[in-house]
């Protein structure tokens, strides 16, 4: 039964994601996670500021339940289905990250340099995480979707806009890692 504690290979993970999209379609919903961020804005009263957030958020309650499930799933996956959380990335990638100062590369699930609870006391870490989140939230809504909405749902539906968005995701990601990372870290 040890296999259950191992990370899932891509050929299990990818089909699972497609299966999740299929399940959502079969209950009459569309797979798209960043929509929840807009719903949360509306719940917080953003509709009073601008019309973009004026909609009946209760119609999106189902998606908030999915997100709640995703939290529980993270708990189950890490506490009951995993023995060693280390992610075995490419040794060359590890060397690279070590040079940037990420000594936890290859030993943990997330870099302790950014995601250890103590890092909440480090101003630079807070700024890095906050800017990352700001860009994700702003960009996802500007593009009208994120990885689930465009790269999975949109491309599965052969939508050209989704292809443009996914190309954008990769341009942004590569600029960040190849050009900006050496300046930030």
């Amino acid at each position: 039964m040890n296999w259950i504690y191992e990370p899932w290979p891509w050929y299990v993970s990818g089909p699972m994601i497609a299966f999740i999209m299929f399940l959502l379609l079969m209950v009459g919903k569309n797979f798209g996670m960043s929509a929840n961020l807009r719903t949360i804005c509306t719940i917080c009263g953003a509709g009073n500021k601008t019309a973009f957030f004026k909609f009946d958020w209760k119609s999106q309650k189902w998606n908030l339940v999915v997100i709640l499930g995703a939290i529980i799933g993270g708990f189950i996956g890490s506490h009951f289905l995993t023995a060693d959380m280390a992610v075995s990335i490419n040794p060359d990638t590890i060397k690279d990250l070590n040079l940037l100062g990420f000594t936890s590369a290859g030993k943990t699930y997330l870099p302790t340099e950014l995601f250890e609870t103590e890092s909440l006391l480090n101003l630079k870490t807070i700024v890095v995480l906050a800017i990352g989140g700001l860009l994700v939230g702003f960009g996802a809504r500007y593009a009208g979707g994120c990885t689930s909405g465009h790269a999975i749902s949109g491309l599965s539906d052969l939508q050209l806009p989704s292809l443009i968005a996914v190309i954008g995701f990769f341009i942004g990601g590569m600029v960040m890692i190849h050009i900006l990372f050496p300046l930030i870290f």
């Binding site: 996670m33 997330l110 809504r141």
Partner: protein
């Protein structure tokens, strides 16, 4: 009952995001470095099956479990919003190492600092709403 189904789908999604390591900052970095097939295999295989599923549903007009017509929402035609929005999203995805699904999964794993990413992404969404009219779409 329907709420329980959504919860179940969410749990399945969360476990998948964690166990596939798609929720790992390291995997995202490695993907943008093109140093592993892992993430491309995940997205690629999800996509191949996804395309077959969607085309099948459309061709045979499959109804949902509740007998309703399955609707796909075609995205509005444009270039700039998808390209600019996509680039901004990509910059953040690589920096925070998490997209809007996995960031919630990581709360369940117990990484407290991810809350900063989540709160900031809600704020980012709010800022988009404020400046929407001034941006090229």
């Amino acid at each position: 009952m329907r709420t329980l189904i959504y919860l179940f789908i969410g749990i399945l999604f969360g476990i998948t995001m964690f166990k596939s390591e798609a929720a790992s900052w390291f995997r995202i970095y490695e993907m943008f470095k093109f140093e592993s097939f892992h993430m491309y295999g995940i997205i690629g295989s999800a996509l191949v099956i996804g395309i077959i599923v969607v085309q099948f549903i459309k061709k045979f007009k499959i109804k949902s479990f509740y007998g309703e017509t399955i609707r796909f929402n075609p995205k509005a035609k444009s270039f700039s919003r998808y390209m600019f929005g996509g680039i901004i999203f990509g910059l953040g995805w690589a920096l925070a190492g998490a997209c809007p699904g996995p960031m919630f999964t990581l709360i369940g794993v117990g990484f407290t600092p991810i809350l900063i990413v989540i709160i900031a992404s809600i704020l980012g969404t709010f800022l988009y709403g404020l400046f929407k009219a001034k941006l090229p779409h």
